[in-house]
Protein backbone atom coordinates (compact mmCIF):
# COMPACT_ATOMS: atom_id res chain seq x y z
CA UNK A 1 0.00 0.00 0.00
CA UNK A 2 2.81 2.39 0.90
CA UNK A 3 4.39 1.71 -2.49
CA UNK A 4 1.17 2.63 -4.30
CA UNK A 5 0.87 5.81 -2.22
CA UNK A 6 4.38 6.93 -3.11
CA UNK A 7 4.01 5.86 -6.72
CA UNK A 8 1.02 8.18 -7.12
CA UNK A 9 2.96 11.10 -5.65
CA UNK A 10 5.99 10.47 -7.83
CA UNK A 11 3.96 10.14 -11.01
CA UNK A 12 2.16 13.44 -10.36
CA UNK A 13 5.37 15.35 -9.62
CA UNK A 14 7.40 13.82 -12.44
CA UNK A 15 4.67 14.31 -15.03
CA UNK A 16 4.41 17.98 -14.08
CA UNK A 17 8.18 18.32 -14.30
CA UNK A 18 8.27 16.58 -17.68
CA UNK A 19 5.42 18.67 -19.11
CA UNK A 20 7.01 21.92 -18.02
CA UNK A 21 10.44 20.90 -19.25
CA UNK A 22 9.21 19.66 -22.61
CA UNK A 23 7.09 22.75 -23.34
CA UNK A 24 9.97 25.00 -22.31
CA UNK A 25 12.49 23.17 -24.50
CA UNK A 26 10.05 23.34 -27.39
CA UNK A 27 9.78 27.13 -27.01
CA UNK A 28 13.56 27.50 -26.88
CA UNK A 29 14.06 25.27 -29.92
CA UNK A 30 11.46 27.12 -31.91
CA UNK A 31 12.51 30.68 -31.20
CA UNK A 32 16.23 30.34 -30.64
CA UNK A 33 17.18 27.54 -33.00
CA UNK A 34 14.25 27.83 -35.37
CA UNK A 35 13.53 24.11 -35.17
CA UNK A 36 11.27 21.96 -33.04
CA UNK A 37 10.23 18.50 -32.04
CA UNK A 38 7.18 17.42 -33.97
CA UNK A 39 6.09 15.03 -31.21
CA UNK A 40 6.60 17.44 -28.29
CA UNK A 41 3.02 18.66 -28.03
CA UNK A 42 1.46 15.20 -28.22
CA UNK A 43 3.88 13.82 -25.67
CA UNK A 44 3.07 16.74 -23.35
CA UNK A 45 -0.63 15.90 -23.50
CA UNK A 46 0.22 12.26 -22.75
CA UNK A 47 2.08 13.36 -19.60
CA UNK A 48 -0.88 15.58 -18.74
CA UNK A 49 -3.29 12.66 -19.10
CA UNK A 50 -1.13 10.47 -16.84
CA UNK A 51 -0.97 13.22 -14.24
CA UNK A 52 -4.73 13.84 -14.25
CA UNK A 53 -5.92 10.25 -14.24
CA UNK A 54 -3.39 8.96 -11.73
CA UNK A 55 -3.83 12.13 -9.66
CA UNK A 56 -7.59 11.75 -9.28
CA UNK A 57 -7.30 8.75 -6.99
CA UNK A 58 -4.53 10.48 -5.05
CA UNK A 59 -6.99 13.36 -4.69
CA UNK A 60 -9.54 11.05 -3.07
CA UNK A 61 -6.94 9.65 -0.68
CA UNK A 62 -5.64 13.00 0.55
CA UNK A 63 -9.04 14.72 0.28
CA UNK A 64 -8.09 17.23 -2.41
CA UNK A 65 -11.41 17.34 -4.24
CA UNK A 66 -13.48 20.45 -3.64
CA UNK A 67 -17.03 20.09 -2.50
CA UNK A 68 -19.78 22.00 -0.75
CA UNK A 69 -20.02 20.45 2.69
CA UNK A 70 -21.70 23.37 4.49
CA UNK A 71 -25.04 21.55 4.68
CA UNK A 72 -23.60 18.20 5.76
CA UNK A 73 -21.58 19.86 8.49
CA UNK A 74 -24.73 21.21 10.08
CA UNK A 75 -26.08 17.69 10.66
CA UNK A 76 -25.67 15.57 13.73
CA UNK A 77 -23.16 12.72 13.55
CA UNK A 78 -25.68 9.96 12.75
CA UNK A 79 -27.44 11.47 9.73
CA UNK A 80 -24.13 12.88 8.54
CA UNK A 81 -22.60 9.40 8.44
CA UNK A 82 -25.64 8.06 6.54
CA UNK A 83 -25.47 10.87 3.96
CA UNK A 84 -21.73 10.36 3.59
CA UNK A 85 -22.19 6.65 2.95
CA UNK A 86 -24.76 7.47 0.27
CA UNK A 87 -22.41 10.10 -1.20
CA UNK A 88 -19.60 7.56 -1.50
CA UNK A 89 -21.90 4.98 -3.05
CA UNK A 90 -23.04 7.55 -5.65
CA UNK A 91 -19.41 8.44 -6.32
CA UNK A 92 -18.80 4.75 -6.93
CA UNK A 93 -21.73 4.72 -9.38
CA UNK A 94 -20.04 7.59 -11.23
CA UNK A 95 -16.76 5.68 -11.27
CA UNK A 96 -18.61 2.62 -12.57
CA UNK A 97 -20.17 4.58 -15.45
CA UNK A 98 -16.91 6.10 -16.61
CA UNK A 99 -14.95 2.90 -16.05
CA UNK A 100 -17.37 0.96 -18.26
CA UNK A 101 -17.37 3.66 -20.92
CA UNK A 102 -13.61 4.04 -21.03
CA UNK A 103 -13.03 0.26 -21.17
CA UNK A 104 -15.44 0.07 -24.14
CA UNK A 105 -13.62 2.93 -25.84
CA UNK A 106 -10.13 1.58 -25.20
CA UNK A 107 -11.05 -1.87 -26.51
CA UNK A 108 -12.56 -0.28 -29.60
CA UNK A 109 -9.38 1.72 -30.17
CA UNK A 110 -7.34 -1.43 -29.57
CA UNK A 111 -9.24 -3.26 -32.30
CA UNK A 112 -8.90 -0.40 -34.76
CA UNK A 113 -5.27 0.27 -33.86
CA UNK A 114 -5.03 3.97 -34.66
CA UNK A 115 -1.65 5.62 -33.98
CA UNK A 116 -0.93 9.14 -32.72
CA UNK A 117 -0.38 11.76 -35.44
CA UNK A 118 3.24 12.43 -34.59
CA UNK A 119 4.29 9.45 -32.50
CA UNK A 120 4.64 5.78 -33.46
CA UNK A 121 2.45 4.74 -30.52
CA UNK A 122 -1.05 3.32 -30.76
CA UNK A 123 -3.61 5.53 -29.07
CA UNK A 124 -5.08 2.80 -26.86
CA UNK A 125 -1.71 2.35 -25.19
CA UNK A 126 -2.09 5.83 -23.71
CA UNK A 127 -5.87 5.88 -23.39
CA UNK A 128 -5.69 2.87 -21.10
CA UNK A 129 -4.48 5.18 -18.32
CA UNK A 130 -8.08 6.39 -18.06
CA UNK A 131 -9.70 3.09 -16.98
CA UNK A 132 -6.68 2.41 -14.79
CA UNK A 133 -7.07 5.80 -13.14
CA UNK A 134 -10.79 5.30 -12.60
CA UNK A 135 -10.22 1.81 -11.20
CA UNK A 136 -7.72 3.27 -8.74
CA UNK A 137 -10.20 5.96 -7.79
CA UNK A 138 -12.89 3.33 -7.27
CA UNK A 139 -10.47 1.52 -4.97
CA UNK A 140 -9.87 4.69 -2.95
CA UNK A 141 -13.59 5.31 -2.61
CA UNK A 142 -14.04 1.74 -1.38
CA UNK A 143 -11.42 2.51 1.27
CA UNK A 144 -13.37 5.60 2.33
CA UNK A 145 -16.57 3.54 2.39
CA UNK A 146 -14.88 0.92 4.57
CA UNK A 147 -13.68 3.63 6.97
CA UNK A 148 -17.15 5.13 7.11
CA UNK A 149 -18.83 1.80 7.81
CA UNK A 150 -16.33 0.82 10.48
CA UNK A 151 -16.65 4.22 12.09
CA UNK A 152 -13.07 5.39 11.50
CA UNK A 153 -14.30 8.55 9.83
CA UNK A 154 -17.61 10.39 9.54
CA UNK A 155 -17.12 12.40 6.37
CA UNK A 156 -15.64 12.34 2.87
CA UNK A 157 -12.73 14.60 3.75
CA UNK A 158 -13.13 17.31 1.20
CA UNK A 159 -10.44 19.79 0.34
CA UNK A 160 -9.56 22.87 2.29
CA UNK A 161 -7.96 25.15 -0.29
CA UNK A 162 -7.23 27.83 2.24
CA UNK A 163 -5.27 25.42 4.42
CA UNK A 164 -3.34 24.23 1.37
CA UNK A 165 -2.29 27.73 0.36
CA UNK A 166 -1.01 28.37 3.86
CA UNK A 167 0.72 25.03 4.17
CA UNK A 168 2.90 25.82 1.19
CA UNK A 169 3.68 29.22 2.63
CA UNK A 170 4.71 27.66 5.94
CA UNK A 171 7.00 25.28 4.09
CA UNK A 172 8.56 28.23 2.28
CA UNK A 173 9.14 30.09 5.54
CA UNK A 174 10.79 27.06 7.09
CA UNK A 175 13.57 27.13 4.51
Amino acid sequence: MKILDHLEEWIISLMLLAMTGLTFVQVVLRYVFDSGLSWAHELTTVFFAFMIFVGMSYGVRVGAHIGVDALVRLMRAGPRRAISVLAVVLSLVYVGFVLTGSIQYVSKMHDVGIEFDDMPIERWQVLIVMPIGYALMGFRFLQVLFNLLTGRTDSLHLADEAADAMKLKAEGDAT
Binding site: F48, Y58, V68, L71, Y94, A162
Partner: protein
Protein backbone atom coordinates in the same frame (compact mmCIF):
# COMPACT_ATOMS: atom_id res chain seq x y z
CA UNK B 1 -37.82 18.14 -18.48
CA UNK B 2 -34.22 17.10 -19.09
CA UNK B 3 -33.12 20.51 -17.93
CA UNK B 4 -34.95 20.10 -14.65
CA UNK B 5 -33.51 16.60 -14.11
CA UNK B 6 -30.00 17.76 -14.95
CA UNK B 7 -29.98 20.73 -12.59
CA UNK B 8 -31.93 19.09 -9.77
CA UNK B 9 -29.56 16.12 -9.75
CA UNK B 10 -26.57 18.45 -9.81
CA UNK B 11 -27.74 20.47 -6.81
CA UNK B 12 -28.88 17.47 -4.78
CA UNK B 13 -25.56 15.72 -5.34
CA UNK B 14 -23.58 18.82 -4.41
CA UNK B 15 -25.68 19.43 -1.30
CA UNK B 16 -24.86 15.90 -0.16
CA UNK B 17 -21.23 16.89 -0.04
CA UNK B 18 -20.22 14.93 -3.13
CA UNK B 19 -17.19 16.61 -4.75
CA UNK B 20 -18.22 19.22 -7.35
CA UNK B 21 -16.45 17.34 -10.14
CA UNK B 22 -18.30 14.11 -9.48
CA UNK B 23 -21.63 15.92 -9.05
CA UNK B 24 -21.16 17.51 -12.47
CA UNK B 25 -20.09 14.25 -14.07
CA UNK B 26 -22.75 12.05 -12.51
CA UNK B 27 -25.65 14.42 -13.22
CA UNK B 28 -24.52 14.66 -16.86
CA UNK B 29 -24.08 10.90 -17.20
CA UNK B 30 -27.47 10.18 -15.66
CA UNK B 31 -29.19 12.67 -17.96
CA UNK B 32 -27.47 11.15 -20.99
CA UNK B 33 -28.17 7.64 -19.80
CA UNK B 34 -31.91 8.17 -19.45
CA UNK B 35 -32.71 10.78 -22.09
CA UNK B 36 -30.22 10.46 -24.90
CA UNK B 37 -28.73 7.99 -27.36
CA UNK B 38 -25.10 8.84 -26.67
CA UNK B 39 -22.99 5.87 -25.57
CA UNK B 40 -20.97 5.77 -22.36
CA UNK B 41 -17.87 5.34 -24.51
CA UNK B 42 -18.42 8.63 -26.30
CA UNK B 43 -18.93 10.34 -22.93
CA UNK B 44 -15.62 8.95 -21.71
CA UNK B 45 -13.85 10.44 -24.70
CA UNK B 46 -15.13 13.87 -23.67
CA UNK B 47 -13.46 13.39 -20.29
CA UNK B 48 -10.21 12.25 -21.85
CA UNK B 49 -10.15 15.18 -24.26
CA UNK B 50 -9.61 17.50 -21.30
CA UNK B 51 -5.98 16.41 -21.24
CA UNK B 52 -5.57 17.25 -24.93
CA UNK B 53 -7.00 20.76 -24.64
CA UNK B 54 -4.22 23.16 -25.55
CA UNK B 55 -5.53 26.18 -23.61
CA UNK B 56 -6.03 24.19 -20.42
CA UNK B 57 -2.41 23.10 -20.54
CA UNK B 58 -1.59 26.58 -19.24
CA UNK B 59 -3.16 25.77 -15.85
CA UNK B 60 -0.50 23.42 -14.44
CA UNK B 61 2.23 25.81 -15.54
CA UNK B 62 0.63 28.90 -13.97
CA UNK B 63 -0.09 26.99 -10.76
CA UNK B 64 3.52 25.82 -10.58
CA UNK B 65 4.92 29.28 -11.35
CA UNK B 66 2.70 30.84 -8.68
CA UNK B 67 3.73 28.33 -6.02
CA UNK B 68 7.41 28.74 -6.88
CA UNK B 69 7.13 32.50 -6.54
CA UNK B 70 5.26 32.59 -3.26
CA UNK B 71 7.72 30.16 -1.66
CA UNK B 72 10.70 31.58 -3.52
CA UNK B 73 10.93 35.09 -2.06
CA UNK B 74 9.52 36.98 -5.05
CA UNK B 75 6.61 38.40 -3.04
CA UNK B 76 8.89 39.54 -0.21
CA UNK B 77 11.01 41.65 -2.55
CA UNK B 78 7.97 43.11 -4.27
CA UNK B 79 6.65 44.22 -0.86
CA UNK B 80 9.98 45.89 -0.04
CA UNK B 81 9.93 47.76 -3.31
CA UNK B 82 6.31 48.86 -2.88
CA UNK B 83 6.99 50.19 0.62
CA UNK B 84 10.08 52.07 -0.53
CA UNK B 85 8.15 53.59 -3.42
CA UNK B 86 4.86 54.72 -1.84
CA UNK B 87 5.19 53.97 1.89
CA UNK B 88 5.63 57.62 2.83
CA UNK B 89 2.15 58.67 1.65
CA UNK B 90 -0.81 59.06 4.00
CA UNK B 91 -1.89 55.47 4.67
CA UNK B 92 1.34 54.57 2.90
CA UNK B 93 1.87 51.05 4.22
CA UNK B 94 -1.66 50.04 3.26
CA UNK B 95 -1.27 51.64 -0.17
CA UNK B 96 2.06 49.87 -0.60
CA UNK B 97 0.37 46.57 0.31
CA UNK B 98 -2.17 47.12 -2.44
CA UNK B 99 0.61 47.93 -4.89
CA UNK B 100 2.39 44.73 -3.83
CA UNK B 101 -0.82 42.77 -4.39
CA UNK B 102 -1.09 44.25 -7.88
CA UNK B 103 2.53 43.38 -8.68
CA UNK B 104 2.17 39.84 -7.38
CA UNK B 105 -1.15 39.45 -9.20
CA UNK B 106 0.70 40.31 -12.39
CA UNK B 107 2.87 37.23 -12.01
CA UNK B 108 0.41 34.88 -10.28
CA UNK B 109 -2.99 33.61 -11.40
CA UNK B 110 -4.69 32.99 -8.08
CA UNK B 111 -6.32 35.23 -5.48
CA UNK B 112 -5.86 33.24 -2.25
CA UNK B 113 -2.20 32.77 -3.23
CA UNK B 114 -1.85 36.55 -3.56
CA UNK B 115 -3.38 37.12 -0.12
CA UNK B 116 -1.05 34.59 1.47
CA UNK B 117 2.07 35.76 -0.37
CA UNK B 118 1.61 39.46 0.40
CA UNK B 119 -0.57 39.35 3.51
CA UNK B 120 1.66 37.11 5.58
CA UNK B 121 4.42 39.71 5.18
CA UNK B 122 2.62 43.05 5.39
CA UNK B 123 -0.17 42.59 7.95
CA UNK B 124 2.20 42.24 10.90
CA UNK B 125 4.16 45.25 9.65
CA UNK B 126 1.04 47.39 9.38
CA UNK B 127 -0.12 46.49 12.87
CA UNK B 128 3.31 47.35 14.24
CA UNK B 129 2.98 50.79 12.64
CA UNK B 130 -0.31 51.59 14.31
CA UNK B 131 -2.91 50.28 11.90
CA UNK B 132 -5.68 48.24 13.46
CA UNK B 133 -5.63 44.56 12.62
CA UNK B 134 -9.10 44.92 11.07
CA UNK B 135 -7.90 47.66 8.73
CA UNK B 136 -4.88 45.64 7.60
CA UNK B 137 -6.80 42.39 7.16
CA UNK B 138 -9.68 44.08 5.31
CA UNK B 139 -7.40 45.82 2.83
CA UNK B 140 -5.35 42.71 2.03
CA UNK B 141 -8.36 40.42 1.83
CA UNK B 142 -9.89 42.65 -0.87
CA UNK B 143 -6.72 43.70 -2.69
CA UNK B 144 -5.75 40.03 -2.95
CA UNK B 145 -8.75 39.40 -5.22
CA UNK B 146 -6.78 41.24 -7.92
CA UNK B 147 -4.94 37.93 -8.37
CA UNK B 148 -7.59 36.67 -10.79
CA UNK B 149 -8.29 40.00 -12.52
CA UNK B 150 -4.77 41.12 -13.34
CA UNK B 151 -3.31 38.62 -15.83
CA UNK B 152 -2.23 35.87 -15.75
CA UNK B 153 -5.37 34.39 -14.27
CA UNK B 154 -6.35 30.75 -13.88
CA UNK B 155 -10.04 31.67 -13.76
CA UNK B 156 -9.66 33.47 -17.10
CA UNK B 157 -7.95 30.43 -18.65
CA UNK B 158 -10.93 28.32 -17.57
CA UNK B 159 -13.44 30.83 -18.98
CA UNK B 160 -11.54 30.99 -22.26
CA UNK B 161 -11.43 27.21 -22.48
CA UNK B 162 -15.20 26.68 -22.05
CA UNK B 163 -16.27 29.57 -24.28
CA UNK B 164 -13.43 29.21 -26.80
CA UNK B 165 -12.48 32.88 -26.74
CA UNK B 166 -8.82 33.90 -26.97
CA UNK B 167 -6.93 33.73 -23.67
CA UNK B 168 -4.53 36.43 -24.80
CA UNK B 169 -7.39 38.82 -25.48
CA UNK B 170 -9.06 38.09 -22.16
CA UNK B 171 -5.77 38.58 -20.30
CA UNK B 172 -5.33 41.99 -21.97
CA UNK B 173 -8.93 42.87 -21.09
CA UNK B 174 -8.08 42.39 -17.40
CA UNK B 175 -5.18 44.87 -17.37
CA UNK B 176 -7.02 48.21 -17.28
CA UNK B 177 -9.80 47.05 -14.89
CA UNK B 178 -7.13 45.52 -12.64
CA UNK B 179 -5.13 48.74 -12.41
CA UNK B 180 -8.33 50.73 -11.96
CA UNK B 181 -9.56 48.59 -9.06
CA UNK B 182 -6.10 48.82 -7.46
CA UNK B 183 -6.21 52.63 -7.70
CA UNK B 184 -9.77 52.76 -6.35
CA UNK B 185 -8.77 50.69 -3.32
CA UNK B 186 -5.74 52.94 -2.81
CA UNK B 187 -7.93 56.04 -2.94
CA UNK B 188 -10.29 54.51 -0.38
CA UNK B 189 -7.34 53.74 1.90
CA UNK B 190 -5.98 57.26 1.50
CA UNK B 191 -9.38 58.68 2.47
CA UNK B 192 -9.93 56.39 5.45
CA UNK B 193 -6.36 56.69 6.71
CA UNK B 194 -6.96 60.37 7.46
CA UNK B 195 -8.88 59.34 10.56
CA UNK B 196 -6.37 56.78 11.75
CA UNK B 197 -3.78 59.34 12.81
CA UNK B 198 -0.81 57.25 11.76
CA UNK B 199 2.60 58.72 11.07
CA UNK B 200 3.84 57.17 7.83
CA UNK B 201 7.49 56.15 7.59
CA UNK B 202 9.78 58.87 6.15
CA UNK B 203 10.22 59.08 2.40
CA UNK B 204 12.86 56.62 1.34
CA UNK B 205 15.87 58.17 -0.42
CA UNK B 206 15.99 57.55 -4.16
CA UNK B 207 18.92 55.16 -3.98
CA UNK B 208 16.96 52.98 -1.57
CA UNK B 209 13.97 52.90 -3.90
CA UNK B 210 16.23 51.98 -6.78
CA UNK B 211 18.01 49.24 -4.86
CA UNK B 212 14.65 47.76 -3.79
CA UNK B 213 13.55 47.94 -7.42
CA UNK B 214 16.73 46.16 -8.55
CA UNK B 215 16.14 43.50 -5.90
CA UNK B 216 12.63 42.79 -7.09
CA UNK B 217 13.54 43.14 -10.77
CA UNK B 218 13.91 39.39 -11.24
CA UNK B 219 10.32 38.92 -10.22
CA UNK B 220 9.05 41.91 -12.19
CA UNK B 221 10.82 40.60 -15.30
CA UNK B 222 8.28 37.80 -15.26
CA UNK B 223 5.57 40.36 -15.90
CA UNK B 224 7.47 41.47 -18.99
CA UNK B 225 7.91 37.88 -20.14
CA UNK B 226 4.24 36.99 -19.79
CA UNK B 227 2.65 40.17 -21.11
CA UNK B 228 5.35 41.01 -23.63
CA UNK B 229 5.47 37.45 -24.86
CA UNK B 230 1.75 37.17 -25.43
CA UNK B 231 1.33 40.73 -26.70
CA UNK B 232 4.31 40.52 -29.04
CA UNK B 233 3.05 37.21 -30.37
CA UNK B 234 6.32 35.58 -29.32
CA UNK B 235 4.48 32.77 -27.64
CA UNK B 236 1.03 31.51 -26.79
CA UNK B 237 -0.35 31.93 -23.26
CA UNK B 238 0.35 28.22 -22.67
CA UNK B 239 3.97 28.60 -23.70
CA UNK B 240 4.27 31.81 -21.69
CA UNK B 241 3.04 29.87 -18.66
CA UNK B 242 5.65 27.14 -19.12
CA UNK B 243 8.42 29.71 -19.62
CA UNK B 244 7.38 31.60 -16.50
CA UNK B 245 7.37 28.37 -14.46
CA UNK B 246 10.94 27.58 -15.52
CA UNK B 247 11.97 31.18 -14.99
CA UNK B 248 10.38 31.27 -11.51
CA UNK B 249 12.21 28.08 -10.61
CA UNK B 250 15.57 29.50 -11.67
CA UNK B 251 14.96 32.77 -9.79
CA UNK B 252 13.72 31.08 -6.61
CA UNK B 253 16.41 28.41 -6.42
CA UNK B 254 19.52 29.91 -8.02
CA UNK B 255 19.18 33.70 -7.78
CA UNK B 256 17.20 34.48 -4.62
CA UNK B 257 18.10 31.11 -3.09
CA UNK B 258 14.98 31.31 -0.88
CA UNK B 259 13.92 27.88 -2.04
CA UNK B 260 16.25 24.89 -1.72
CA UNK B 261 16.39 22.01 -4.17
CA UNK B 262 15.37 19.73 -1.30
CA UNK B 263 11.97 21.45 -1.10
CA UNK B 264 11.27 21.35 -4.83
CA UNK B 265 9.52 17.95 -4.83
CA UNK B 266 7.00 19.29 -2.30
CA UNK B 267 6.26 22.33 -4.46
CA UNK B 268 5.81 20.11 -7.52
CA UNK B 269 3.52 17.69 -5.70
CA UNK B 270 1.44 20.51 -4.21
CA UNK B 271 1.13 22.19 -7.63
CA UNK B 272 0.28 18.86 -9.23
CA UNK B 273 -2.39 18.25 -6.63
CA UNK B 274 -4.01 21.65 -7.26
CA UNK B 275 -3.87 21.08 -11.02
CA UNK B 276 -5.42 17.62 -10.82
CA UNK B 277 -8.20 18.91 -8.59
CA UNK B 278 -8.92 21.75 -11.05
CA UNK B 279 -8.68 19.54 -14.13
CA UNK B 280 -10.99 16.94 -12.62
CA UNK B 281 -13.64 19.64 -12.20
CA UNK B 282 -12.93 21.10 -15.65
CA UNK B 283 -13.17 17.70 -17.36
CA UNK B 284 -16.51 16.86 -15.81
CA UNK B 285 -17.78 20.40 -16.38
CA UNK B 286 -16.94 20.08 -20.08
CA UNK B 287 -19.07 16.94 -20.04
CA UNK B 288 -21.81 18.94 -18.35
CA UNK B 289 -21.46 21.69 -20.96
CA UNK B 290 -21.66 19.04 -23.67
CA UNK B 291 -24.99 17.83 -22.28
CA UNK B 292 -26.23 21.42 -22.09
CA UNK B 293 -25.38 21.97 -25.75
CA UNK B 294 -26.79 18.69 -27.05
CA UNK B 295 -30.00 19.38 -25.15
CA UNK B 296 -29.92 22.94 -26.56
CA UNK B 297 -30.55 24.35 -23.10
CA UNK B 298 -28.62 27.66 -23.43
CA UNK B 299 -30.19 28.29 -26.85
CA UNK B 300 -33.67 27.73 -25.47
CA UNK B 301 -33.09 30.12 -22.58
CA UNK B 302 -31.54 32.63 -24.98
CA UNK B 303 -34.50 32.48 -27.34
CA UNK B 304 -36.91 32.99 -24.48
CA UNK B 305 -34.96 35.95 -23.16
CA UNK B 306 -34.77 37.55 -26.58
CA UNK B 307 -38.47 36.88 -27.20
CA UNK B 308 -39.22 38.36 -23.79
CA UNK B 309 -37.50 41.49 -25.01
CA UNK B 310 -34.93 41.68 -22.23
CA UNK B 311 -32.46 44.45 -22.95
CA UNK B 312 -28.71 43.84 -22.57
CA UNK B 313 -28.78 46.35 -19.71
CA UNK B 314 -31.26 44.27 -17.70
CA UNK B 315 -29.62 41.02 -18.70
CA UNK B 316 -26.28 42.15 -17.29
CA UNK B 317 -28.00 43.20 -14.08
CA UNK B 318 -29.56 39.74 -13.76
CA UNK B 319 -26.21 38.09 -14.58
CA UNK B 320 -24.52 40.08 -11.84
CA UNK B 321 -27.18 39.16 -9.28
CA UNK B 322 -27.00 35.46 -10.16
CA UNK B 323 -23.21 35.49 -10.01
CA UNK B 324 -23.10 37.39 -6.72
CA UNK B 325 -25.44 34.85 -5.11
CA UNK B 326 -23.59 31.88 -6.62
CA UNK B 327 -20.28 33.39 -5.49
CA UNK B 328 -21.41 33.10 -1.90
CA UNK B 329 -21.75 29.35 -2.09
CA UNK B 330 -19.22 28.02 -4.57
CA UNK B 331 -15.66 28.57 -5.59
CA UNK B 332 -14.87 30.51 -8.82
CA UNK B 333 -13.80 27.72 -11.17
CA UNK B 334 -16.96 25.74 -10.54
CA UNK B 335 -19.22 28.74 -11.11
CA UNK B 336 -17.49 29.76 -14.32
CA UNK B 337 -17.66 26.19 -15.61
CA UNK B 338 -21.37 25.77 -14.88
CA UNK B 339 -22.61 29.24 -15.82
CA UNK B 340 -20.32 30.40 -18.65
CA UNK B 341 -21.67 27.84 -21.18
CA UNK B 342 -25.21 29.04 -20.37
CA UNK B 343 -24.58 32.80 -20.24
CA UNK B 344 -22.17 32.97 -23.17
CA UNK B 345 -24.67 32.17 -25.99
CA UNK B 346 -27.28 34.47 -24.49
CA UNK B 347 -24.81 37.33 -24.25
CA UNK B 348 -23.73 36.78 -27.85
CA UNK B 349 -27.36 36.97 -28.99
CA UNK B 350 -27.82 40.24 -27.12
CA UNK B 351 -24.71 41.69 -28.70
CA UNK B 352 -22.54 41.64 -25.57
CA UNK B 353 -18.85 41.00 -26.26
CA UNK B 354 -17.86 37.60 -24.77
CA UNK B 355 -14.58 39.12 -23.56
CA UNK B 356 -16.54 41.78 -21.67
CA UNK B 357 -18.76 39.08 -20.17
CA UNK B 358 -15.60 37.25 -19.10
CA UNK B 359 -14.30 40.29 -17.23
CA UNK B 360 -17.71 40.81 -15.56
CA UNK B 361 -17.71 37.18 -14.43
CA UNK B 362 -14.18 37.46 -13.05
CA UNK B 363 -15.04 40.60 -11.06
CA UNK B 364 -18.09 38.83 -9.62
CA UNK B 365 -15.86 35.92 -8.64
CA UNK B 366 -13.56 38.38 -6.87
CA UNK B 367 -16.49 39.58 -4.79
CA UNK B 368 -17.52 35.99 -4.12
CA UNK B 369 -14.09 35.39 -2.62
CA UNK B 370 -14.62 37.99 0.12
CA UNK B 371 -18.22 37.10 1.01
CA UNK B 372 -19.26 34.31 3.40
CA UNK B 373 -19.99 31.46 3.79
CA UNK B 374 -17.68 30.27 1.00
CA UNK B 375 -15.05 32.96 0.49
CA UNK B 376 -11.57 31.65 -0.12
CA UNK B 377 -9.90 34.97 0.65
CA UNK B 378 -11.75 35.22 3.97
CA UNK B 379 -10.55 31.74 4.96
CA UNK B 380 -6.98 32.53 4.02
CA UNK B 381 -6.98 35.93 5.73
CA UNK B 382 -8.41 34.34 8.86
CA UNK B 383 -5.61 31.77 8.65
CA UNK B 384 -2.76 34.26 8.43
CA UNK B 385 -4.13 36.76 10.98
CA UNK B 386 -5.60 34.39 13.55
CA UNK B 387 -8.87 36.40 13.47
CA UNK B 388 -12.04 34.34 13.25
CA UNK B 389 -14.24 34.26 10.17
CA UNK B 390 -16.82 36.69 11.54
CA UNK B 391 -14.14 39.25 12.42
CA UNK B 392 -12.49 38.94 9.00
CA UNK B 393 -15.83 39.25 7.22
CA UNK B 394 -16.63 42.42 9.14
CA UNK B 395 -13.13 43.77 8.47
CA UNK B 396 -13.48 43.13 4.74
CA UNK B 397 -16.95 44.63 4.47
CA UNK B 398 -16.17 48.37 4.03
CA UNK B 399 -13.68 47.63 1.24
CA UNK B 400 -16.18 45.30 -0.41
CA UNK B 401 -18.22 48.42 -1.22
CA UNK B 402 -15.35 49.57 -3.44
CA UNK B 403 -15.51 46.27 -5.29
CA UNK B 404 -19.27 46.59 -5.76
CA UNK B 405 -19.00 50.13 -7.15
CA UNK B 406 -16.24 48.88 -9.42
CA UNK B 407 -18.46 46.01 -10.61
CA UNK B 408 -21.18 48.44 -11.67
CA UNK B 409 -18.66 50.57 -13.58
CA UNK B 410 -17.07 47.59 -15.34
CA UNK B 411 -20.47 46.15 -16.23
CA UNK B 412 -21.84 49.30 -17.84
CA UNK B 413 -18.68 50.76 -19.35
CA UNK B 414 -17.45 47.99 -21.67
CA UNK B 415 -14.65 50.18 -23.02
CA UNK B 416 -12.70 49.78 -19.77
CA UNK B 417 -12.31 46.10 -20.55
CA UNK B 418 -12.35 46.16 -24.34
CA UNK B 419 -10.30 49.20 -25.36
CA UNK B 420 -6.90 47.61 -24.71
CA UNK B 421 -7.46 44.18 -26.34
CA UNK B 422 -9.17 45.85 -29.31
CA UNK B 423 -6.29 48.30 -29.71
CA UNK B 424 -3.73 45.50 -29.58
CA UNK B 425 -5.40 42.68 -31.49
CA UNK B 426 -7.88 44.69 -33.56
CA UNK B 427 -11.63 44.73 -32.92
Amino acid sequence: MNTVVLFTTLFVLMAMGIPVAISLGLSSLLTIFFFSQDSLASMSIKLFETSEHYTLLAIPFFVLAGNLMSTGGVAKRMVHFAIAAVGHLRGGLAIASILACMLFAAVSGSSPATVVAVGSIVIAGMVKNGYTKEFAAGVICNAGTLGILIPPSIVMVVYAAVTEVSVGRLFMAGVVPGIMLGLMLMAAVWWRAGRLNIVPPPKAPLHEVLSALRDSLWGLMLLVIIMGGIYGGVFTPTEAAAVSAVYALVVAVFIYKDLTLKHLPEVFLESGKTTVMLMFIVGNALLFAHVLTTERIPQTIAEQIVAFGMSPWVFLLVVNLILLVAGNFMEPTGIILILAPILFPIATQLGIDPIHLGVIMVVNMEIGMVTPPVGLNLFVTSGITGMNLVQVTRAALPWLLVLLVFLVIVTYVPAISLALPNAIFGA
